[in-house]
């Protein structure tokens, strides 16, 4: 068993690119769902629209990188408006199905043969991240330190993505913290509890819901940028419903309506995923586990991840940072 690799990869996963991009998506969901009670199950579409906005602008139209970022952000905001104007009047569960449907539509259009010239079909686009890496302040090489015998190094490209990513996360968290402490956030939370009551107190519920949807969507779309930039490519199927589900899982794991909940949730999720898998593969590779073969390791990993999620939520249904009292209040 190669414990050093296992520990090193796990620790790196805790702050890695995937954690960053999912954390951003989850922060967005936390704004929408955790604070406002909007069941937006289309977060993947916001990420996708942003990523593709960047990719199409740079690759197909040939404009510079930063224009792509602006286009992506605007696209995410427009998607939020398009989704929100008709659907925010709907009951919460209907909003969920409408957003999930919209997200699937977006993904299917991205991957379709009919629009292959624009969106690149099922393999998507690549070659739009040079502008981003051109800004990289780190010179080529590996950066990091040894934690005892465990090496923790990232190369300059990853480090640049991580730097930007974590700065974005920090900014978003500060933003969420400030907003949710304020009367503005109070209105959101009140909407989560009972829209009609809020309406009767003279607040424009629709407008607040829209603000929340746009804000959450734009924050989530940052995750889409990080994906595209980190992998230097973008594929439609990355933005399937699974991505949204996992982001929700992270929000709940960390604790809904907690500022740092989604970030911690994302970290836990990836640590779980990587730790379990790398331990398993090594154990199988080293012949310690003999009752399964290579083909089954991947499946067993997901089984254990599933069990992990179940157990975490059984023993902390309110999430890591959550407040038990909130859960005890009967929502009915």
């Amino acid at each position: 068993m190669d414990w050093i690799t296992i520990i090193s990869t796990t620790l790196k996963a805790a702050v890695g690119v995937e954690t960053v991009l999912y954390a951003l998506a989850a922060i967005g969901i936390n704004i929408q769902f955790g604070y406002t009670g909007l069941l937006n199950f289309g977060q993947a579409a916001f990420m996708g629209v942003a990523g593709y906005g960047l990719a199409v602008t740079v690759v197909v139209i040939g404009l510079p990188f930063w224009v792509g970022v602006v286009v992506g952000l605007v696209a995410a905001a427009i998607l939020a408006l398009l989704l929100g104007i008709p659907t925010l009047q709907l009951r919460a569960d209907y909003l969920a199905i409408v957003t999930i449907a919209a997200a699937e539509i977006v993904r299917l259009v991205f991957r379709s043969v009919a629009f292959k010239d624009v969106f690149g079909g099922s393999d998507g686009h690549r070659g739009f991240s040079d502008g981003f890496y051109a800004l990289n302040p780190y010179s080529a090489g590996e950066y990091g330190f040894n934690l005892g015998p465990v090496p923790l190094f990232f190369n300059h490209r990853v480090l640049w993505v991580l730097t930007v990513g974590w700065v974005l996360i920090a900014l978003c968290c500060v933003l969420v913290y400030l907003l949710m402490k304020s009367p503005w956030g109070r209105v959101l939370k009140a909407i989560r509890e009972d829209e009609d009551a809020v309406r009767s107190l003279g607040k424009n519920v629709f407008s607040y819901k829209m603000q929340s949807l746009v804000l959450g969507g734009v924050v989530g779309s940052l995750g889409g940028f990080i994906y595209g930039l980190a992998y230097a490519s973008i594929q439609p199927d990355v933005f399937g419903t699974e991505t949204t589900f996992y982001a929700y899982t992270m929000v709940i794991l960390g604790g809904a309506a907690r500022v740092l909940g989604p970030v911690l949730g994302a970290s836990i999720f990836w640590v779980l995923l990587v730790l379990i898998y790398n331990t398993l593969t090594d154990a199988v590779g080293a012949g310690i586990i003999t009752f399964m073969d290579t083909n089954q390791v991947g499946a067993v990993r997901w089984i254990l991840v599933g069990l992990g999620l179940i157990l975490l939520l059984i023993f902390r249904p309110q999430g890591i940072f959550g407040d038990k009292r909130e859960i005890a209040i009967d929502a009915r």
């Binding site: 190669d2 050093i4 690799t5 090193s8 990869t9 790196k12 996963a13 890695g16 690119v17 995937e18 299917l108 991957r111 043969v113 292959k116 079909g121 099922s122 393999d123 998507g124 690549r126 070659g127 010179s139 080529a140 090489g141 590996e142 950066y143 990091g144 040894n146 015998p149 465990v150 090496p151 190094f153 190369n155 300059h156 490209r157 994906y227 992998y231 230097a232 490519s233 594929q235 439609p236 199927d237 990355v238 399937g240 699974e242 991505t243 996992y246 990836w270 995923l273 898998y277 790398n278 593969t281 199988v284 590779g285 073969d293 290579t294 083909n295 390791v297 991947g298 499946a299 990993r301």
Partner: protein
């Protein structure tokens, strides 16, 4: 590379080195696999792993590479919907893999190619068919044994035309494999004087394919080309149901779905006379037996030959380069694949190499001769025909060999 020695590993990257990880040969050829254990392509995993395993078994029996047995780490590529491939690559890189064999899905490969080649490691896919990889920025480290389907599409298209099908319908799986192949077939058929009356690109995950088949039915083509993977079984059910059976219309299949196991439960004669094309110069039967010895549970053999060849080529290139470092191996890959004394397995090839000869490895999947882009330049396509038992004869009707780019 080499992940067995943890002591050197921990001391190595102590300071940021200035250039991309250059030669770091440690004497052991370390291979990582990045193949689907889960996700929508999970059915491709077992044959691909088996292909690699079979090759490694033979290599190690023949004395290993550079005198040492090959080390291998298996990881899961998942599919595009989860981002686990990237984490798997992180692990393999941490374990100092010299080359990574994978992924099955072009999309997954695209998402990790920068990471792999950026670390000076060979990215070798047995199954990517997207033509994007021909032009991709890969530092000369990307290779694949699966041809980008131009030749197969041409052969199949010509086959369709020469069978006299003046009206043709194409049902193609909607991804880079399916659409790429379908484009080529369509072009060849049209050039040859046939007419593609309907082409349907279908979503392989769709709940059912009746609408897709109904579209074909409306045009009533003489020949129907089925391009896809195992979901073709569902498409065939639908063709039979909607009254387009193989005895009235000529069906054609491709390597992704020409299978001896997928259709055996169908009524006798359902696939009678159906033709399919598979790359590779040898009848697959013998090879499949060997694979079964490695993994007795195998049901499908897609991309097993390509995986096997990938592994053998890597081992031979390492021997030729006398180094296991990715960059060195990559430099030799093209050389061992063409221009020299022909040989068909690691043992004979390595013996030739040791005797100082130039070799030309011809694999199970075809002659595999790499061009500069790391794509195979030449391929052999076998044309097979199904019998009444819904299995195809192990002897090909004919083999066509040609340059992939034309």
């Amino acid at each position: 590379g080499g992940g067995s020695n943890t002591a050197t590993q921990s001391s190595q990257p102590a300071a940021p080195s200035s250039s991309a990880p250059a030669a770091k040969g440690d004497g052991t050829l370390t291979i990582g696999t990045l193949l689907p254990q889960t996700g929508s392509l999970a059915f491709l995993g077992p044959p691909e792993f088996a292909g690699v395993d079979l090759a490694i078994k033979e290599i190690n029996e023949a004395g290993g590479v550079l005198g040492k047995p090959v080390t291998k780490y298996d990881t899961d590529s998942g599919d595009t919907t989860t981002n686990i491939a990237s984490q798997s690559v992180d692990k393999l890189l941490a374990q100092k893999a010299d080359a990574i064999i994978g992924a099955a899905s072009s999309s997954v490969s695209e998402s990790v190619i920068d990471k792999i080649t950026g670390a000076g490691v060979i990215h070798f896919s047995p199954a990517n068919t997207s033509d994007k990889f021909t032009t991709i920025e890969d530092k000369g480290l990307y290779f694949r044994t699966s041809p980008p389907d131009k030749l197969q599409g041409r052969v199949l298209g010509d086959l369709v035309v020469s069978d006299g099908n003046d009206t043709v319908g194409i049902l193609a799986m909607q991804d880079s494999y399916g659409t790429g192949l379908a484009d080529q077939v369509q072009k060849t058929v049209t050039d040859g004087g046939g007419e593609v009356v309907e082409r349907v690109d279908y979503d392989p995950k769709a709940a059912d394919f009746s609408a897709d088949v109904a579209k074909i039915k409306a045009k009533n083509p003489k020949g129907i080309v089925l391009i896809g993977f195992e979901e073709t079984a569902k498409v065939i059910q639908e063709l039979v149901k909607q009254g387009l059976p193989a005895d009235k219309h000529k069906w054609y299949m491709v390597d992704g779905n020409t299978s001896n196991t997928n259709y055996v439960k169908m009524p006798k004669g359902t696939l009678d006379g159906v033709k399919g094309t598979i790359p590779g110069a040898a009848a697959p039967e013998e090879f499949q037996k060997q694979l079964l010895a490695v993994n007795p549970k195998l049901e499908d053999y897609s991309y097993a030959p390509e995986s096997y060849d990938a592994m053998n080529l890597l081992a031979l290139a390492a021997e030729a380069a006398k180094s296991d470092a990715g960059v060195d191996v990559a430099a030799k890959l093209a050389e061992v694949s063409k221009g020299g004394e022909k040989c068909k397995n690691f043992k004979t090839c390595v013996d030739l190499l040791k005797a100082g000869k130039d070799i030309d490895y011809d694999g199970v999947s075809g002659p595999v001769e790499f061009n500069d882009a790391g794509d195979p330049a030449v391929a052999t396509i076998g044309i097979y025909q199904y019998g009444k038992d819904n299995k195809y004869a192990t002897k090909a009707l004919e083999y066509r060999t040609g340059n992939i780019s034309g």
